[in-house]
């Protein structure tokens, strides 16, 4: 049943991600992306990472994508029309992206598999403990500083110049 759910969510994620890149209206692609992200959250949960799944929904679906939608609505962005100035690029881009995808797939599938734990599941509290453990504490702090910097940067960048 988990496998069936996985394939269902996977197919949904693939489909919605194609909508993301194919839909000319940015708001609709944003909505499609939200669907993709939620599907991925489900897959994360299925893969034994409920904490990451929750984070995925909170951070991506709940925060980042709301921000995207907010900006899209704020700027009242028009749908894209036509391929723009770089039509030849399109074919090269699709070909290259397919090639990259294939390469990545082969690299990932060849990747080291490790022992493989049956029914692996990471309790959320463990995740919190690992994050605050010796090995990741400094990275955690660094990320906190990064967030602060991004916060200040965003405020400064988006601020209207004073008259």
């Amino acid at each position: 049943m988990d496998a069936a759910l996985f394939y269902l969510l996977g197919a949904l994620a693939l489909g919605s991600s194609i909508v993301v890149i194919a839909q000319p209206n940015p708001i609709r692609s944003a909505l499609a992306l939200i669907v993709t992200l939620c599907c991925l959250a489900g897959i994360f949960g299925l893969l034994g990472s409920p904490f990451i799944a929750a984070l995925q929904v909170i951070v991506y679906a709940g925060a980042i994508m709301v921000l995207f939608l907010f900006v899209l609505m704020l700027l009242n962005v028009e749908p894209e029309r036509g391929p723009g100035r770089s039509r030849q690029l399109t074919f090269a881009a699709v070909a290259l992206a397919v090639a990259l995808s294939a390469q990545l797939g082969s690299v990932l599938v060849r990747g080291d598999r490790g022992a493989g734990v049956e029914g692996f599941r990471a309790p959320s509290v463990d995740m919190a403990r690992v994050l605050f453990s010796e090995s990741f504490l400094y990275a955690f702090e660094a990320v906190a500083v990064l967030i602060l910097a991004a916060l200040v940067g965003a405020v400064v960048l988006a601020k209207r110049e004073l008259p």
């Binding site: 708001i27 909505l31 939200i34 939620c38 959250a41 409920p50 904490f51 799944a53 929750a54 984070l55 929904v57 909170i58 679906a61 709940g62 925060a63 709301v66 921000l67 939608l69 907010f70 609505m73 704020l74 309790p123 959320s124 509290v125």
Partner: protein, 337 residues
Amino acid sequence: MTPFLEELAIAAVKVGAIIGLLLGLFSFMTWAERRLLALMQFRLGPNRTGPLGLLQPVADGIKLFFKEETIPEGAHRGLFLAAPVIAVVTAFTAIAVVPYGPTLELFGRQVPLQIASLDVGLLFIFAVTSLGVYSVVLAGYASNNKFGLLGGLRSSAQMFSYELTLGMSWVGVIMLAQSFQIADIVGAQAGGFWRWNLALQPLAAFTYFAAATAEVSRTPFDLTEAEQELVAGFHTEYSSMRFALLQMAEYVNIITVAVLAVNLFLGGWHFPFPGVPASPLWFALKVAAVLFVFIWLRGTLPRLRYDQLMAFGWKVLLPLVTLNILVTAALVQAGVL
């Protein structure tokens, strides 16, 4: 019956019960709110339909059900139709993982008074409520209506501004209970009201309540709907059942927030003094009290200006809750709490 089917049956029963309860509570609350507000404003309120006007919600429901559904021209049809559904689904999903009583012994098996117990607990609620923003945003956007769009914009900005505070107000509580699970958090508050997080985490309780009020767009943070300026904000164009759904989602959210407040800060199903056994009854009373406070607030406070709202969220609540986390962490580390 296989254990799986048994589980399924129990879950179905619980889901049915909760949904029924919630629907009833929602109806009752619309009535209670109107009556109480009227009382506070020296009016009578709806008192014609049934005894004390108690059947008013039913009448409203029937009226809305039979009303014509209109979709404005130029609206994004799919989104317009989906928005209320998202609202209801997220509202009900959030409350699914909230426990409302101690584990009961029923027919020889342990039955937790909770639809689903998730490891991530609070995080799940947080995730689902954060998805709730979309219904507002999309409803506003899809309506192709200036008031709707403005309401959607306002509410999205407001919601994710206060969501941060909301989430952070939980951190102190989580630290004290050392768990994301609400049942554990409630368990940690057993043994008298001085063990409640309202006493141990007063700052967190205050910020939670303020942020939650904003999150569900209740007065004094109801700029999303601000009847006087935006007509009704994001649901200006909604009518009929979809309007009812949006209303329902809103009230369910209020109930969720109240239930969470009880679980996180008011000791859940525990009696304020030790010795009295825990019971869903205490829980229900506390929830009712919190809901009353929401209504009371609406009858008392004026609406904030938009810049005041933002300033309050970012410059007062967020620093306060950050301070709370720092102090709590220091005290936990020092072994005081």
